[in-house]
Amino acid sequence: MTVFFRSLLVLCILEAAGCGGSGIDGVDEENNIFVSEPDEIFATQNSTARFLTQATFGPIPDQVVAMTGGNASDWIINEFSQPASLVLPEMESFYDFFNDDELSGFASSISTFAYWRNVLAGDDQLRQRMAYALSQILVVSNGGGELLTDVPEAVGYYMDVLTRNAFGNYRDLMHEVTYTPAMGHYLTYLGNQKGDPATGRVPDENYAREILQLFTVGTVALNPDGTPKTDASDAPVEIYSNSDITGLARVFTGLGLSEESFGTNEEDDIATLMAQPMAIFEQEHSSLEKRFLGSVIPANTSAAESINRALDVIFNHSNVAPFVSRQLIQRFVTSHPEPAYVARVANAFEAGTYTLPNGTTVGNARRGDLKATISAILFDEQARTVQSSPFFGKVREPVLRFSAWTRAFQVSQITPQYVTALWDTSGVNSLNQHPYRAASVFNFYRPGYIAPGTASGTLELTVPELQIVNAASIPGYANFMTYMVYGRDPVEEAQELAEEFDEAGVSLDPQAALSSFIPDYQDELDVAADAAALLALLDQKLTYGTLSAKTRTAITEALNNIPLDQDDAEFDRVAVAIVMVVTSADFLVQR
């Protein structure tokens, strides 16, 4: 273990509930920290890189070398203590460089700039991955072209809520999310008034429905292993009806933007207001009895108390652990987890603790603990054993494919403000996915998606990411990556950027495009003449030793058609090989 990695470790006793594990074999005198014995997970560079592919935005080669021979339990304890890289402070660094009175693509993208920077360059990699996973359960989107697009602070604050709570408790997260203006606006309960019998007006039901259906319990009763409970006729059992929704809708009335403004109209300080919890307007909150999920909140209960009690009722439903656990497993490890795997993770969620392989217990023993949950996901035998099961694995999300490339080749300057292709990657001719920009509250894909007319579909396997793989998005992704890997012309980009900045009144130097997101292919260029050596390097950096013989043959054949005596042959060979790896099934399916 190198000094580099040791310096990242901290006293596990500060973070973990109990440190006296059997696997801890000593204290590093120099840094005064515990160091566990080497484990199997970090035994080889490939096994280390595989773990980091599941747990981060992509392995960085130097870090893989440094971590190999270490211990993954130590690693996760260290991750838990990493300070959160937040978006709002990062966004502020842009304020001096543009005119925020005018809407522009630049102005509305500053949360995206900050986000890319944090996830690609931040040291809190597991926290960022967890927040990203949570953002696909508790979905808000700034793709609607209205308030959440125009006021990027709204989603910036929302990102920070998820990031701050990523290693916290799901119940606390439900509370904070409920009060965010981003969610309030997205699911239309910001400014939601109590009913009025005189006019027939009733409370907006949007949040009441989706917090149940999408954020916490789903629609049908679940066993602890995530499989649906069935009735006597073998049918799933629905756990609420529309009357539960109308009852719960009364709870989410009376939340407004600030003490002065119930709605969101024309506020001068809207950027500030959208970046703090919503305010309660007691007079707009329903004073009626609220009846849902077999519980009753009595008449005349205050807004804060009603929300608190309602969130308790929802959170205490037995569906929450398997519902959330299965989706998180899908985001990190495998698309169709075995029920027993879901049950083990749900158990950690319920218990609020998990004992790592080195004997350290993480989590504070409160139900919904996310440290325990993510540990149970990553250290489960299903995640750690190399799976030869034909049903194991997941399609890497497009965002994670791109991020893996940036980190594998340590791109220079992670300054997305100078790369317009990164301002919006949601298009089908781009990544077909942009963080916090799903087409709807149903995310980019559904956790229960079974791809019709496919081999996995025939077997009734849920493979969510296949929902965005099709005849338009496949070439779109290939072209986007070709552009990033190979095709950029920074001089031309700088010229276009200069025009863009000029129009939007941005006082940044467009010439910075020349040094932004430029990959370092030096290792590869050094061996470009030797196809086998080049492939070995790329396999290590991108596919942790899983590049198949067939893919190697295909790439070698391609390289044979790029003779070394032609201009730029080394670069072409390297770039073509990388494009082929990142468009190969070996890379695209994380196993």
Binding site: I245, V428, L466
Partner: protein, 459 residues
Amino acid sequence: MNRRDFLSTVGKTAISLPLVGVGTTFSVTPVFAANPSDYRALVCVFFLGGLDTHDVLIPYDQPSYDAWVRIRNSLVSAQGQTRARANLLPIASGSTVTASGTFALPPEMPLLHSLYQQGRVAIAANVGPLISATTRSDFQNEAVPLPPRLFSHNDQQSVWQASAPEGAQFGWGGLFADAMLSAGANQVPEFSTITSLGNELFLTGQVAKPYQVGLDGAAQVDFLADEDVPAALKSVLRRHFAGESADQINVISRDLGDAFAGALTANERYDAATASAEPFNTVFPTSPLGAQLRAVAQAISVRSQLQAQRQIFFVGIGGFDTHSAQATDLPGLLTQIDGALAAFYQSMQELALGSNVTLFTASDFGRTLVINGDGTDHGWGAHHLVMGDAVSGGQIHGFVPPAQLDHDYDSGGGRLIPTTSVEQYAAPLGRWFGLSETELLAALPNRANFATEPSLIIA
């Protein structure tokens, strides 16, 4: 796994649909569709989020209009002059309607109003998912089986498209296409079902799979289109982008490889077919729906190059989940629908295919009649449009419940209990498309639970 292997796998596990009650209400017809020689297409326009059709088919006779205004007072006030009775566009109800009073379209829809009055557009009243006929008391007492997960967006989209909630595998558009493929239509099966959106359930059959076309044609891999890439290298890359190296043991890898293979060949074929496409004189709006319907019209214009006699298209736009700010947000969408559909009708006239192409609308659900402040919440039944020269237009087909609360078809808050099931709505479209009665019943599992269906198509 090649396409043929795949089909044999699917065939073994396919669910066979029970044909309960078949034969009592239908005349004797062939079991299979006849081999088609002419061209016919169905175009589904889906309003994602749940279109409030209480604000599309508006009560027009004074008492009904007044009742509607009373219930929707806060919304109608916010809508201002656009919902003043004098500014509505009254329509003839025709002979196929059951309703008290008369109706109008909103002023955002002048072109569709005109097409309706000319008999080119029909309205199917109060359509939605049903297992069997249902009234308010049936609903309240759960006296009849109800569609699963009512009022939930994703599930009701799925039920509309596939008669089952999220996780469903086959949509009735895809099954309609399957029937015609088995009857010998479409030498190139890839273009039987086409969408401008994503992996649409509606268009997925056991054989038919949706093909995603870009708004300006097929997407291409730049590397393969680049003239500077030498032929030998290109041929290696082409095999790579056809997913030939994908591991076949892992099913996800196999599916991905198949997706790459299907995408590459379909895009290449589509591209070759559209090379000869003639531009339309019709000017399509540049709106999202206009652009999608333009892409559909272009695909139809090259139908012979695509070797297609029967095609089903799926397009859609979002924004209809108007829980809030409905007065601000919905009018623009209605205008968009009006412009895009009318242009599409015009473009089919240009191709002389007015009687060969039938467009119909769908949505997650209708919405509440009551208002939640400035919007409406999830409902159930909704009114829909059917357009084309084969349509029995200028008529409202079916029962329009009154603009009141707590009637026999109000499930609460003016969430209409449908009086025409989705499958009753789909059946005449499928029959016109060429399906036999047996095939219709197989594609529409609950159709047999209803005695009649709306006569949407001119006999």
